[in-house]
Symmetry: C2
Subunit: 324 residues, 2 copies
Protein backbone atom coordinates (compact mmCIF):
# COMPACT_ATOMS: atom_id res chain seq x y z
CA UNK A 1 0.00 0.00 0.00
CA UNK A 2 1.74 3.16 -1.17
CA UNK A 3 1.31 6.49 -2.88
CA UNK A 4 1.96 5.03 -6.33
CA UNK A 5 -1.18 2.92 -5.99
CA UNK A 6 -3.16 6.05 -5.13
CA UNK A 7 -1.78 7.91 -8.14
CA UNK A 8 -2.60 4.94 -10.36
CA UNK A 9 -6.13 4.87 -8.96
CA UNK A 10 -6.43 8.61 -9.62
CA UNK A 11 -5.55 8.02 -13.26
CA UNK A 12 -8.23 5.33 -13.52
CA UNK A 13 -10.79 7.56 -11.77
CA UNK A 14 -10.04 10.60 -13.93
CA UNK A 15 -13.16 11.63 -15.81
CA UNK A 16 -15.28 9.15 -13.85
CA UNK A 17 -15.25 10.26 -10.22
CA UNK A 18 -16.26 13.82 -9.50
CA UNK A 19 -13.59 16.21 -8.36
CA UNK A 20 -15.68 17.62 -5.54
CA UNK A 21 -15.03 21.31 -4.80
CA UNK A 22 -14.01 22.83 -1.48
CA UNK A 23 -16.81 24.79 0.19
CA UNK A 24 -16.66 27.54 2.81
CA UNK A 25 -18.98 29.89 4.66
CA UNK A 26 -18.16 32.91 6.82
CA UNK A 27 -20.90 31.73 9.20
CA UNK A 28 -19.08 28.46 9.83
CA UNK A 29 -15.78 30.30 10.29
CA UNK A 30 -17.45 32.39 12.99
CA UNK A 31 -18.67 29.31 14.85
CA UNK A 32 -15.35 27.52 14.67
CA UNK A 33 -13.15 30.53 15.32
CA UNK A 34 -10.98 29.64 12.33
CA UNK A 35 -11.43 29.04 8.61
CA UNK A 36 -13.49 25.91 7.95
CA UNK A 37 -13.01 24.27 4.56
CA UNK A 38 -15.37 21.44 3.63
CA UNK A 39 -14.72 18.70 1.08
CA UNK A 40 -18.28 17.54 0.21
CA UNK A 41 -17.95 13.91 -0.81
CA UNK A 42 -21.71 13.64 -0.42
CA UNK A 43 -21.70 15.13 -3.93
CA UNK A 44 -19.70 12.16 -5.24
CA UNK A 45 -21.48 9.61 -7.43
CA UNK A 46 -23.86 7.46 -5.32
CA UNK A 47 -23.73 10.09 -2.58
CA UNK A 48 -20.47 9.15 -0.86
CA UNK A 49 -16.72 8.75 -1.31
CA UNK A 50 -17.27 4.99 -1.52
CA UNK A 51 -17.64 5.26 -5.28
CA UNK A 52 -13.92 6.08 -5.46
CA UNK A 53 -12.90 2.84 -3.78
CA UNK A 54 -15.46 0.82 -5.70
CA UNK A 55 -14.28 2.16 -9.04
CA UNK A 56 -10.63 1.73 -8.10
CA UNK A 57 -11.13 -1.89 -7.07
CA UNK A 58 -13.29 -2.80 -10.09
CA UNK A 59 -10.85 -1.24 -12.55
CA UNK A 60 -7.84 -2.86 -10.89
CA UNK A 61 -9.15 -6.29 -11.91
CA UNK A 62 -8.00 -7.85 -15.15
CA UNK A 63 -10.67 -7.94 -17.83
CA UNK A 64 -11.54 -11.62 -17.48
CA UNK A 65 -11.84 -11.45 -13.70
CA UNK A 66 -13.95 -8.32 -13.90
CA UNK A 67 -16.23 -9.92 -16.45
CA UNK A 68 -17.07 -12.69 -13.98
CA UNK A 69 -18.17 -10.06 -11.49
CA UNK A 70 -17.70 -8.75 -7.97
CA UNK A 71 -19.34 -9.25 -4.62
CA UNK A 72 -19.59 -7.05 -1.52
CA UNK A 73 -21.14 -7.21 1.93
CA UNK A 74 -22.89 -3.96 2.71
CA UNK A 75 -26.27 -2.40 3.20
CA UNK A 76 -24.94 1.07 2.79
CA UNK A 77 -22.65 3.35 0.90
CA UNK A 78 -20.06 0.73 -0.05
CA UNK A 79 -22.82 -1.33 -1.70
CA UNK A 80 -23.93 1.58 -3.84
CA UNK A 81 -20.40 2.59 -4.76
CA UNK A 82 -19.45 -0.93 -5.86
CA UNK A 83 -22.75 -1.52 -7.63
CA UNK A 84 -22.53 1.65 -9.70
CA UNK A 85 -18.85 1.17 -10.52
CA UNK A 86 -19.44 -2.41 -11.66
CA UNK A 87 -22.54 -1.51 -13.67
CA UNK A 88 -20.60 1.07 -15.67
CA UNK A 89 -18.21 -1.68 -16.70
CA UNK A 90 -20.99 -4.10 -17.53
CA UNK A 91 -19.67 -6.31 -14.74
CA UNK A 92 -22.12 -8.26 -12.57
CA UNK A 93 -22.23 -7.17 -8.93
CA UNK A 94 -23.74 -9.18 -6.10
CA UNK A 95 -24.41 -7.33 -2.88
CA UNK A 96 -25.08 -9.35 0.26
CA UNK A 97 -27.47 -7.57 2.63
CA UNK A 98 -29.33 -8.55 5.79
CA UNK A 99 -32.99 -9.28 5.08
CA UNK A 100 -34.01 -6.53 7.49
CA UNK A 101 -32.13 -3.86 5.52
CA UNK A 102 -34.32 -0.82 4.73
CA UNK A 103 -36.30 -1.51 1.56
CA UNK A 104 -35.18 1.77 0.05
CA UNK A 105 -31.51 0.77 0.33
CA UNK A 106 -32.25 -2.59 -1.27
CA UNK A 107 -34.17 -0.93 -4.09
CA UNK A 108 -31.51 1.72 -4.66
CA UNK A 109 -28.75 -0.85 -4.84
CA UNK A 110 -30.78 -2.90 -7.33
CA UNK A 111 -31.54 0.21 -9.37
CA UNK A 112 -27.80 0.89 -9.58
CA UNK A 113 -27.47 -2.44 -11.37
CA UNK A 114 -26.60 -4.93 -8.63
CA UNK A 115 -28.15 -8.25 -7.71
CA UNK A 116 -29.07 -8.09 -4.04
CA UNK A 117 -28.90 -11.34 -2.07
CA UNK A 118 -30.50 -11.23 1.37
CA UNK A 119 -29.36 -13.33 4.33
CA UNK A 120 -31.09 -14.01 7.62
CA UNK A 121 -29.91 -11.95 10.54
CA UNK A 122 -29.14 -13.07 13.18
CA UNK A 123 -30.29 -16.68 12.70
CA UNK A 124 -30.18 -18.69 9.50
CA UNK A 125 -27.27 -19.11 7.17
CA UNK A 126 -24.40 -16.82 8.21
CA UNK A 127 -23.44 -13.89 6.03
CA UNK A 128 -20.03 -15.23 5.06
CA UNK A 129 -21.46 -18.65 4.19
CA UNK A 130 -23.94 -17.11 1.79
CA UNK A 131 -21.30 -14.87 0.27
CA UNK A 132 -18.61 -17.51 -0.02
CA UNK A 133 -20.97 -19.97 -1.64
CA UNK A 134 -22.13 -17.50 -4.29
CA UNK A 135 -18.62 -16.14 -4.89
CA UNK A 136 -17.12 -19.57 -5.49
CA UNK A 137 -20.06 -20.76 -7.62
CA UNK A 138 -19.76 -17.77 -9.95
CA UNK A 139 -16.09 -16.86 -9.65
CA UNK A 140 -16.84 -13.44 -8.14
CA UNK A 141 -14.14 -11.26 -6.61
CA UNK A 142 -14.81 -9.95 -3.11
CA UNK A 143 -14.43 -6.19 -2.67
CA UNK A 144 -13.97 -5.44 1.00
CA UNK A 145 -15.21 -2.09 2.35
CA UNK A 146 -11.86 -0.84 3.70
CA UNK A 147 -9.18 -3.44 4.33
CA UNK A 148 -8.25 -3.75 0.65
CA UNK A 149 -5.30 -1.92 -0.93
CA UNK A 150 -7.14 -0.96 -4.12
CA UNK A 151 -10.09 0.35 -2.12
CA UNK A 152 -7.77 2.41 0.07
CA UNK A 153 -6.04 3.66 -3.09
CA UNK A 154 -9.37 4.82 -4.49
CA UNK A 155 -10.34 6.64 -1.31
CA UNK A 156 -6.87 8.18 -1.24
CA UNK A 157 -7.64 10.06 -4.46
CA UNK A 158 -9.81 12.30 -2.28
CA UNK A 159 -6.62 13.19 -0.40
CA UNK A 160 -4.74 14.05 -3.60
CA UNK A 161 -7.55 16.47 -4.46
CA UNK A 162 -7.49 18.00 -0.99
CA UNK A 163 -3.72 18.53 -1.23
CA UNK A 164 -4.02 20.30 -4.58
CA UNK A 165 -7.11 22.32 -3.68
CA UNK A 166 -5.76 23.43 -0.30
CA UNK A 167 -2.57 24.63 -1.99
CA UNK A 168 -4.70 26.68 -4.42
CA UNK A 169 -6.31 28.30 -1.37
CA UNK A 170 -2.91 29.00 0.16
CA UNK A 171 -3.36 26.51 3.00
CA UNK A 172 -0.25 24.49 3.72
CA UNK A 173 -0.70 23.72 7.41
CA UNK A 174 -3.96 22.33 8.75
CA UNK A 175 -5.68 19.32 10.21
CA UNK A 176 -7.80 17.34 7.75
CA UNK A 177 -10.68 15.81 9.66
CA UNK A 178 -12.25 12.67 8.21
CA UNK A 179 -15.26 10.65 9.28
CA UNK A 180 -13.76 7.28 10.14
CA UNK A 181 -15.19 3.77 10.17
CA UNK A 182 -12.71 1.05 9.26
CA UNK A 183 -10.17 3.64 8.17
CA UNK A 184 -10.12 3.14 4.40
CA UNK A 185 -10.72 6.79 3.61
CA UNK A 186 -8.62 8.12 6.47
CA UNK A 187 -5.60 5.96 5.67
CA UNK A 188 -5.85 6.74 1.95
CA UNK A 189 -6.05 10.46 2.63
CA UNK A 190 -3.18 10.24 5.14
CA UNK A 191 -0.91 8.62 2.53
CA UNK A 192 -1.87 11.17 -0.11
CA UNK A 193 -1.20 14.08 2.25
CA UNK A 194 2.14 12.62 3.34
CA UNK A 195 3.23 12.68 -0.30
CA UNK A 196 1.66 15.87 -1.64
CA UNK A 197 0.98 18.12 1.37
CA UNK A 198 3.15 17.17 4.33
CA UNK A 199 1.89 20.18 6.30
CA UNK A 200 -1.62 18.73 6.27
CA UNK A 201 -2.37 16.01 8.82
CA UNK A 202 -5.27 13.55 8.73
CA UNK A 203 -7.29 13.04 11.91
CA UNK A 204 -10.08 10.48 12.24
CA UNK A 205 -13.42 11.56 13.71
CA UNK A 206 -15.95 9.21 15.29
CA UNK A 207 -19.20 9.28 17.25
CA UNK A 208 -19.22 8.85 21.02
CA UNK A 209 -19.44 5.19 22.05
CA UNK A 210 -17.94 4.01 18.76
CA UNK A 211 -14.46 5.50 19.06
CA UNK A 212 -12.45 2.38 18.30
CA UNK A 213 -10.00 4.28 16.11
CA UNK A 214 -9.35 7.07 18.63
CA UNK A 215 -8.71 4.48 21.34
CA UNK A 216 -6.55 2.39 19.03
CA UNK A 217 -4.41 5.40 18.18
CA UNK A 218 -4.01 6.23 21.86
CA UNK A 219 -3.02 2.71 22.88
CA UNK A 220 -1.00 1.91 19.78
CA UNK A 221 -2.89 -1.29 19.05
CA UNK A 222 -6.23 -2.22 17.56
CA UNK A 223 -9.10 -1.70 20.00
CA UNK A 224 -12.65 -2.83 19.29
CA UNK A 225 -16.04 -1.24 19.76
CA UNK A 226 -18.22 -2.76 22.48
CA UNK A 227 -21.17 -2.72 20.07
CA UNK A 228 -21.65 -2.12 16.35
CA UNK A 229 -25.24 -0.91 16.20
CA UNK A 230 -27.45 1.68 17.82
CA UNK A 231 -25.95 4.82 16.31
CA UNK A 232 -27.46 7.32 13.91
CA UNK A 233 -23.96 7.39 12.42
CA UNK A 234 -24.45 3.88 11.00
CA UNK A 235 -22.30 4.59 7.94
CA UNK A 236 -19.09 4.66 9.99
CA UNK A 237 -19.76 2.03 12.64
CA UNK A 238 -17.31 -0.85 12.24
CA UNK A 239 -15.97 -3.38 14.76
CA UNK A 240 -12.38 -2.09 14.72
CA UNK A 241 -9.74 -0.43 12.51
CA UNK A 242 -8.49 -2.72 9.73
CA UNK A 243 -5.30 -4.79 9.66
CA UNK A 244 -4.07 -2.81 6.65
CA UNK A 245 -5.49 0.57 7.58
CA UNK A 246 -4.42 0.74 11.23
CA UNK A 247 -0.64 0.73 10.74
CA UNK A 248 -1.06 3.61 8.27
CA UNK A 249 -3.32 5.54 10.63
CA UNK A 250 -0.94 4.90 13.48
CA UNK A 251 2.08 6.16 11.56
CA UNK A 252 0.50 9.25 9.97
CA UNK A 253 -2.61 10.50 11.79
CA UNK A 254 -3.06 12.97 14.59
CA UNK A 255 -5.23 12.07 17.58
CA UNK A 256 -8.82 11.02 16.95
CA UNK A 257 -11.71 13.34 17.68
CA UNK A 258 -14.98 12.16 19.19
CA UNK A 259 -18.32 13.96 18.83
CA UNK A 260 -21.82 13.41 20.18
CA UNK A 261 -24.78 12.45 18.03
CA UNK A 262 -26.30 15.84 18.83
CA UNK A 263 -23.20 17.56 17.50
CA UNK A 264 -23.46 15.50 14.30
CA UNK A 265 -27.12 16.51 13.89
CA UNK A 266 -26.20 20.13 14.53
CA UNK A 267 -23.51 19.91 11.84
CA UNK A 268 -26.10 18.48 9.41
CA UNK A 269 -28.34 21.49 10.04
CA UNK A 270 -25.46 23.94 9.56
CA UNK A 271 -24.38 22.22 6.34
CA UNK A 272 -27.98 22.61 5.14
CA UNK A 273 -28.16 26.29 6.13
CA UNK A 274 -24.68 27.45 5.19
CA UNK A 275 -23.30 25.12 2.52
CA UNK A 276 -26.50 23.84 0.88
CA UNK A 277 -25.35 20.25 0.99
CA UNK A 278 -27.10 17.16 2.35
CA UNK A 279 -24.99 15.20 4.83
CA UNK A 280 -25.81 12.02 6.73
CA UNK A 281 -24.96 11.68 10.45
CA UNK A 282 -21.94 9.46 9.86
CA UNK A 283 -20.80 11.90 7.19
CA UNK A 284 -21.11 14.89 9.49
CA UNK A 285 -18.89 13.94 12.42
CA UNK A 286 -15.78 15.54 10.92
CA UNK A 287 -17.62 18.83 10.35
CA UNK A 288 -19.03 18.56 13.87
CA UNK A 289 -15.52 18.17 15.24
CA UNK A 290 -14.32 21.18 13.24
CA UNK A 291 -17.18 23.32 14.53
CA UNK A 292 -17.57 22.18 18.12
CA UNK A 293 -14.19 20.77 19.18
CA UNK A 294 -12.01 23.65 18.16
CA UNK A 295 -10.06 23.48 21.42
CA UNK A 296 -8.65 20.15 20.28
CA UNK A 297 -7.47 21.61 16.96
CA UNK A 298 -4.53 23.90 16.18
CA UNK A 299 -4.04 26.40 13.39
CA UNK A 300 -6.07 29.09 11.68
CA UNK A 301 -7.77 26.74 9.22
CA UNK A 302 -9.28 23.26 9.38
CA UNK A 303 -10.43 21.00 6.57
CA UNK A 304 -13.37 18.63 7.14
CA UNK A 305 -14.49 15.88 4.77
CA UNK A 306 -18.27 15.44 4.65
CA UNK A 307 -18.13 11.84 3.56
CA UNK A 308 -21.70 10.95 2.60
CA UNK A 309 -25.24 12.20 2.16
CA UNK A 310 -27.41 9.09 2.11
CA UNK A 311 -29.61 10.16 4.98
CA UNK A 312 -33.12 9.08 5.81
CA UNK A 313 -35.53 12.01 5.32
CA UNK A 314 -36.85 11.56 8.87
CA UNK A 315 -33.37 11.84 10.36
CA UNK A 316 -32.72 14.92 8.24
CA UNK A 317 -35.96 16.53 9.42
CA UNK A 318 -34.97 15.74 13.00
CA UNK A 319 -31.72 17.64 12.50
CA UNK A 320 -33.59 20.62 11.02
CA UNK A 321 -36.19 20.61 13.79
CA UNK A 322 -33.56 20.69 16.47
CA UNK A 323 -30.86 22.88 15.00
CA UNK A 324 -32.05 24.88 11.96
Amino acid sequence: MNIDMIRAAAARLDGHARRTPLLTSPFLDDIAGRRVIVKPECLQHTGSFKFRGGWSAVTALDTETRKRGVIAYSSGNHAQGVAFAAAQHGAPAVIIMPNDAPRLKVENTRALGAEVVLYDRPGGEAREEVGNRIASERGLTLIKPYDDPEVIAGQGTCGLEIAAQAAEMGIDHADVLTCCGGGGLTSGIALALEADAPGLRARPCEPEGFDDTARSLRSGRIARNAKTSGSLCDAIITPAPGEITFPILSRLCGPGLVVTEDEALHAIALAFLRLKIVVEPGGAVALAAALFHGDEIDGDAVIAVCTGGNVDPDVFKLALDRFA
Copy 2:
Protein backbone atom coordinates in the same frame (compact mmCIF):
# COMPACT_ATOMS: atom_id res chain seq x y z
CA MET B 1 -23.91 44.03 -23.41
CA ASN B 2 -21.72 41.46 -25.13
CA ILE B 3 -19.59 38.38 -24.67
CA ASP B 4 -16.44 40.41 -24.04
CA MET B 5 -18.03 41.83 -20.89
CA ILE B 6 -18.78 38.28 -19.74
CA ARG B 7 -15.22 37.16 -20.38
CA ALA B 8 -13.90 40.21 -18.52
CA ALA B 9 -16.22 39.40 -15.60
CA ALA B 10 -14.96 35.81 -15.65
CA ALA B 11 -11.39 37.07 -15.30
CA ARG B 12 -12.40 39.20 -12.31
CA LEU B 13 -14.33 36.31 -10.73
CA ASP B 14 -11.50 33.81 -11.24
CA GLY B 15 -10.39 32.47 -7.86
CA HIS B 16 -13.30 34.20 -6.09
CA ALA B 17 -16.49 32.62 -7.39
CA ARG B 18 -16.79 28.86 -7.17
CA ARG B 19 -16.66 26.88 -10.38
CA THR B 20 -19.63 24.71 -9.44
CA PRO B 21 -19.43 21.15 -10.80
CA LEU B 22 -22.00 19.39 -12.97
CA LEU B 23 -23.98 16.72 -11.10
CA THR B 24 -25.88 13.72 -12.43
CA SER B 25 -27.81 10.74 -11.14
CA PRO B 26 -29.05 7.66 -12.99
CA PHE B 27 -32.26 7.94 -10.95
CA LEU B 28 -32.99 11.38 -12.39
CA ASP B 29 -32.17 10.16 -15.90
CA ASP B 30 -34.77 7.42 -15.45
CA ILE B 31 -37.45 9.92 -14.41
CA ALA B 32 -36.71 12.31 -17.25
CA GLY B 33 -36.16 9.72 -19.94
CA ARG B 34 -32.91 11.41 -20.94
CA ARG B 35 -29.64 12.44 -19.32
CA VAL B 36 -30.18 15.18 -16.75
CA ILE B 37 -27.16 17.34 -15.94
CA VAL B 38 -27.46 19.77 -13.03
CA LYS B 39 -25.39 22.92 -12.48
CA PRO B 40 -25.76 23.47 -8.71
CA GLU B 41 -25.41 27.22 -8.20
CA CYS B 42 -26.85 26.71 -4.72
CA LEU B 43 -23.25 25.76 -3.91
CA GLN B 44 -22.04 29.21 -4.98
CA HIS B 45 -20.94 31.66 -2.25
CA THR B 46 -23.99 33.00 -0.34
CA GLY B 47 -26.05 30.09 -1.68
CA SER B 48 -26.96 31.39 -5.12
CA PHE B 49 -25.57 32.54 -8.49
CA LYS B 50 -26.25 36.12 -7.36
CA PHE B 51 -22.74 36.32 -5.91
CA ARG B 52 -21.41 36.25 -9.48
CA GLY B 53 -23.32 39.37 -10.50
CA GLY B 54 -22.60 41.10 -7.22
CA TRP B 55 -18.87 40.50 -7.51
CA SER B 56 -18.84 41.49 -11.17
CA ALA B 57 -20.64 44.78 -10.50
CA VAL B 58 -18.55 45.67 -7.44
CA THR B 59 -15.26 44.94 -9.21
CA ALA B 60 -16.33 46.88 -12.31
CA LEU B 61 -16.38 50.11 -10.29
CA ASP B 62 -13.30 52.31 -10.18
CA THR B 63 -11.51 52.29 -6.83
CA GLU B 64 -12.79 55.64 -5.59
CA THR B 65 -16.40 54.87 -6.47
CA ARG B 66 -16.19 51.45 -4.88
CA LYS B 67 -14.69 52.93 -1.73
CA ARG B 68 -17.78 55.11 -1.27
CA GLY B 69 -19.94 52.00 -1.36
CA VAL B 70 -22.86 50.31 -3.06
CA ILE B 71 -26.58 50.03 -2.44
CA ALA B 72 -29.14 47.41 -3.45
CA TYR B 73 -32.85 46.82 -2.99
CA SER B 74 -33.44 43.20 -2.05
CA SER B 75 -34.53 40.97 0.77
CA GLY B 76 -33.16 37.90 -0.88
CA ASN B 77 -30.31 36.36 -2.78
CA HIS B 78 -29.20 39.54 -4.56
CA ALA B 79 -28.78 41.26 -1.18
CA GLN B 80 -26.52 38.51 0.11
CA GLY B 81 -24.50 38.34 -3.10
CA VAL B 82 -23.87 42.08 -3.16
CA ALA B 83 -23.20 42.29 0.59
CA PHE B 84 -20.60 39.52 0.54
CA ALA B 85 -18.90 40.82 -2.62
CA ALA B 86 -18.67 44.35 -1.20
CA ALA B 87 -17.43 43.15 2.19
CA GLN B 88 -14.55 41.29 0.60
CA HIS B 89 -13.44 44.58 -0.97
CA GLY B 90 -13.85 46.51 2.26
CA ALA B 91 -16.55 48.53 0.50
CA PRO B 92 -19.63 49.65 2.43
CA ALA B 93 -22.89 48.06 1.29
CA VAL B 94 -26.34 49.34 2.15
CA ILE B 95 -29.22 46.96 1.55
CA ILE B 96 -32.74 48.39 1.54
CA MET B 97 -35.29 45.89 2.84
CA PRO B 98 -38.95 46.09 3.80
CA ASN B 99 -39.41 46.19 7.56
CA ASP B 100 -41.45 42.99 7.41
CA ALA B 101 -38.58 41.01 5.86
CA PRO B 102 -37.86 37.75 7.70
CA ARG B 103 -35.55 38.45 10.62
CA LEU B 104 -33.20 35.69 9.54
CA LYS B 105 -32.65 37.32 6.15
CA VAL B 106 -31.97 40.66 7.79
CA GLU B 107 -29.52 39.05 10.20
CA ASN B 108 -27.77 37.07 7.48
CA THR B 109 -27.33 40.12 5.30
CA ARG B 110 -25.92 42.06 8.25
CA ALA B 111 -23.61 39.16 9.14
CA LEU B 112 -22.28 39.27 5.58
CA GLY B 113 -21.12 42.81 6.29
CA ALA B 114 -23.93 45.01 5.00
CA GLU B 115 -25.83 47.82 6.67
CA VAL B 116 -29.52 46.99 6.41
CA VAL B 117 -31.93 49.92 6.14
CA LEU B 118 -35.59 49.05 6.60
CA TYR B 119 -38.44 50.92 4.95
CA ASP B 120 -42.15 50.82 5.73
CA ARG B 121 -44.22 48.66 3.46
CA PRO B 122 -46.74 49.57 2.13
CA GLY B 123 -47.25 52.93 3.89
CA GLY B 124 -44.55 55.34 5.01
CA GLU B 125 -41.63 56.58 3.00
CA ALA B 126 -41.42 54.75 -0.34
CA ARG B 127 -38.57 52.36 -1.03
CA GLU B 128 -36.99 54.44 -3.78
CA GLU B 129 -37.18 57.62 -1.67
CA VAL B 130 -35.28 55.96 1.15
CA GLY B 131 -32.73 54.47 -1.23
CA ASN B 132 -32.21 57.62 -3.30
CA ARG B 133 -31.77 59.78 -0.23
CA ILE B 134 -29.13 57.50 1.30
CA ALA B 135 -27.37 56.94 -2.04
CA SER B 136 -27.03 60.63 -2.77
CA GLU B 137 -26.03 61.52 0.82
CA ARG B 138 -23.20 58.98 0.77
CA GLY B 139 -22.35 58.74 -2.90
CA LEU B 140 -23.34 55.08 -3.15
CA THR B 141 -23.66 53.24 -6.47
CA LEU B 142 -26.90 51.35 -7.06
CA ILE B 143 -26.49 47.71 -8.10
CA LYS B 144 -29.71 46.54 -9.74
CA PRO B 145 -30.67 42.87 -9.45
CA TYR B 146 -30.79 42.10 -13.19
CA ASP B 147 -31.15 45.04 -15.55
CA ASP B 148 -27.49 46.03 -15.27
CA PRO B 149 -24.85 45.03 -17.84
CA GLU B 150 -22.16 44.19 -15.28
CA VAL B 151 -24.60 42.08 -13.29
CA ILE B 152 -25.64 40.22 -16.43
CA ALA B 153 -21.96 39.77 -17.28
CA GLY B 154 -21.33 38.20 -13.88
CA GLN B 155 -24.25 35.79 -14.19
CA GLY B 156 -23.06 34.95 -17.71
CA THR B 157 -19.89 33.43 -16.27
CA CYS B 158 -22.10 30.55 -15.20
CA GLY B 159 -22.84 30.02 -18.90
CA LEU B 160 -19.15 29.98 -19.82
CA GLU B 161 -18.65 27.22 -17.27
CA ILE B 162 -21.62 25.26 -18.59
CA ALA B 163 -20.26 25.51 -22.13
CA ALA B 164 -16.84 24.19 -21.09
CA GLN B 165 -18.16 21.52 -18.74
CA ALA B 166 -20.76 20.23 -21.19
CA ALA B 167 -18.06 19.92 -23.85
CA GLU B 168 -15.97 17.86 -21.40
CA MET B 169 -18.97 15.55 -21.04
CA GLY B 170 -19.36 15.30 -24.81
CA ILE B 171 -22.62 17.24 -24.87
CA ASP B 172 -22.84 19.70 -27.76
CA HIS B 173 -26.58 19.84 -28.34
CA ALA B 174 -29.01 20.36 -25.47
CA ASP B 175 -31.43 22.76 -23.86
CA VAL B 176 -30.06 24.62 -20.84
CA LEU B 177 -32.95 25.29 -18.47
CA THR B 178 -32.60 28.23 -16.11
CA CYS B 179 -34.82 29.49 -13.31
CA CYS B 180 -35.84 32.94 -14.50
CA GLY B 181 -36.95 36.08 -12.66
CA GLY B 182 -35.91 39.31 -14.35
CA GLY B 183 -33.70 37.43 -16.77
CA GLY B 184 -30.24 38.44 -15.62
CA LEU B 185 -28.95 34.89 -15.33
CA THR B 186 -30.83 33.60 -18.36
CA SER B 187 -29.66 36.39 -20.65
CA GLY B 188 -26.07 36.10 -19.42
CA ILE B 189 -26.06 32.35 -19.96
CA ALA B 190 -27.67 32.77 -23.39
CA LEU B 191 -24.91 35.14 -24.51
CA ALA B 192 -22.20 32.83 -23.17
CA LEU B 193 -23.68 29.81 -24.93
CA GLU B 194 -24.08 31.71 -28.19
CA ALA B 195 -20.34 32.39 -28.14
CA ASP B 196 -18.91 29.18 -26.70
CA ALA B 197 -21.49 26.44 -27.29
CA PRO B 198 -23.87 27.36 -30.11
CA GLY B 199 -25.51 23.92 -29.94
CA LEU B 200 -26.72 24.66 -26.40
CA ARG B 201 -29.85 26.79 -26.07
CA ALA B 202 -31.01 28.65 -22.97
CA ARG B 203 -34.66 28.31 -21.96
CA PRO B 204 -36.22 30.23 -19.05
CA CYS B 205 -38.32 28.33 -16.50
CA GLU B 206 -40.96 29.91 -14.27
CA PRO B 207 -43.67 28.95 -11.80
CA GLU B 208 -47.31 28.84 -12.86
CA GLY B 209 -49.02 32.21 -12.43
CA PHE B 210 -45.74 34.09 -12.69
CA ASP B 211 -44.79 33.27 -16.27
CA ASP B 212 -44.12 36.80 -17.50
CA THR B 213 -41.02 35.73 -19.42
CA ALA B 214 -42.68 32.79 -21.18
CA ARG B 215 -45.55 35.05 -22.23
CA SER B 216 -43.19 37.82 -23.28
CA LEU B 217 -41.24 35.41 -25.46
CA ARG B 218 -44.45 34.18 -27.08
CA SER B 219 -45.80 37.64 -27.81
CA GLY B 220 -42.48 39.25 -28.67
CA ARG B 221 -42.90 42.09 -26.22
CA ILE B 222 -42.57 42.55 -22.49
CA ALA B 223 -45.56 41.16 -20.59
CA ARG B 224 -46.08 41.70 -16.87
CA ASN B 225 -47.16 39.43 -14.03
CA ALA B 226 -50.61 40.12 -12.61
CA LYS B 227 -49.12 39.85 -9.10
CA THR B 228 -45.63 39.69 -7.60
CA SER B 229 -46.25 37.87 -4.34
CA GLY B 230 -47.87 34.70 -3.10
CA SER B 231 -45.47 32.13 -4.51
CA LEU B 232 -43.14 29.74 -2.73
CA CYS B 233 -40.76 30.55 -5.59
CA ASP B 234 -40.21 34.08 -4.21
CA ALA B 235 -36.60 34.23 -5.42
CA ILE B 236 -37.65 34.47 -9.06
CA ILE B 237 -40.83 36.53 -8.86
CA THR B 238 -40.33 39.87 -10.63
CA PRO B 239 -42.83 42.23 -12.30
CA ALA B 240 -41.57 41.66 -15.86
CA PRO B 241 -38.44 40.87 -17.90
CA GLY B 242 -35.93 43.71 -17.93
CA GLU B 243 -35.38 46.34 -20.61
CA ILE B 244 -31.84 45.08 -21.15
CA THR B 245 -32.47 41.38 -20.58
CA PHE B 246 -35.57 40.90 -22.70
CA PRO B 247 -34.08 41.71 -26.12
CA ILE B 248 -31.32 39.18 -25.39
CA LEU B 249 -33.80 36.54 -24.23
CA SER B 250 -35.96 37.22 -27.26
CA ARG B 251 -33.08 36.83 -29.69
CA LEU B 252 -31.44 33.76 -28.18
CA CYS B 253 -33.75 31.70 -25.97
CA GLY B 254 -36.04 28.82 -26.75
CA PRO B 255 -39.62 28.85 -25.47
CA GLY B 256 -40.20 29.27 -21.74
CA LEU B 257 -41.25 26.36 -19.56
CA VAL B 258 -43.79 26.68 -16.77
CA VAL B 259 -44.03 24.33 -13.78
CA THR B 260 -46.36 24.03 -10.80
CA GLU B 261 -45.31 24.68 -7.22
CA ASP B 262 -45.84 21.00 -6.52
CA GLU B 263 -43.42 20.11 -9.28
CA ALA B 264 -40.86 22.49 -7.79
CA LEU B 265 -41.28 20.88 -4.35
CA HIS B 266 -40.94 17.44 -5.93
CA ALA B 267 -37.71 18.55 -7.62
CA ILE B 268 -36.41 19.79 -4.24
CA ALA B 269 -37.03 16.34 -2.75
CA LEU B 270 -35.34 14.58 -5.66
CA ALA B 271 -32.33 16.90 -5.47
CA PHE B 272 -32.11 16.00 -1.77
CA LEU B 273 -32.38 12.27 -2.42
CA ARG B 274 -30.33 11.92 -5.57
CA LEU B 275 -27.88 14.83 -5.73
CA LYS B 276 -27.44 15.70 -2.04
CA ILE B 277 -27.93 19.40 -2.66
CA VAL B 278 -30.27 21.87 -0.98
CA VAL B 279 -32.40 23.83 -3.44
CA GLU B 280 -35.03 26.50 -2.79
CA PRO B 281 -38.36 26.47 -4.67
CA GLY B 282 -37.40 29.29 -7.02
CA GLY B 283 -34.11 27.50 -7.65
CA ALA B 284 -35.79 24.21 -8.46
CA VAL B 285 -38.14 25.14 -11.30
CA ALA B 286 -35.56 24.39 -14.01
CA LEU B 287 -34.90 20.93 -12.58
CA ALA B 288 -38.67 20.43 -12.25
CA ALA B 289 -39.07 21.30 -15.93
CA ALA B 290 -36.29 18.88 -16.88
CA LEU B 291 -37.88 16.06 -14.88
CA PHE B 292 -41.59 16.61 -15.43
CA HIS B 293 -41.93 18.48 -18.73
CA GLY B 294 -39.83 16.22 -20.90
CA ASP B 295 -42.41 16.31 -23.69
CA GLU B 296 -41.58 19.98 -24.21
CA ILE B 297 -37.84 19.25 -24.51
CA ASP B 298 -35.86 17.71 -27.38
CA GLY B 299 -32.63 15.76 -27.36
CA ASP B 300 -31.06 12.99 -25.31
CA ALA B 301 -29.66 15.30 -22.64
CA VAL B 302 -30.88 18.36 -20.77
CA ILE B 303 -28.97 20.73 -18.51
CA ALA B 304 -30.76 22.38 -15.58
CA VAL B 305 -29.35 25.17 -13.42
CA CYS B 306 -30.36 24.90 -9.75
CA THR B 307 -29.97 28.57 -9.05
CA GLY B 308 -30.22 28.90 -5.27
CA GLY B 309 -30.53 27.06 -1.97
CA ASN B 310 -31.67 29.69 0.53
CA VAL B 311 -34.78 27.82 1.57
CA ASP B 312 -36.72 28.09 4.80
CA PRO B 313 -36.36 24.84 6.80
CA ASP B 314 -40.16 24.54 7.03
CA VAL B 315 -40.55 24.72 3.27
CA PHE B 316 -37.79 22.15 2.86
CA LYS B 317 -39.49 19.81 5.31
CA LEU B 318 -42.75 20.26 3.42
CA ALA B 319 -41.02 19.10 0.24
CA LEU B 320 -39.57 16.06 2.03
CA ASP B 321 -42.90 15.19 3.64
CA ARG B 322 -44.69 15.23 0.35
CA PHE B 323 -42.15 13.82 -2.07
CA ALA B 324 -39.23 12.08 -0.30
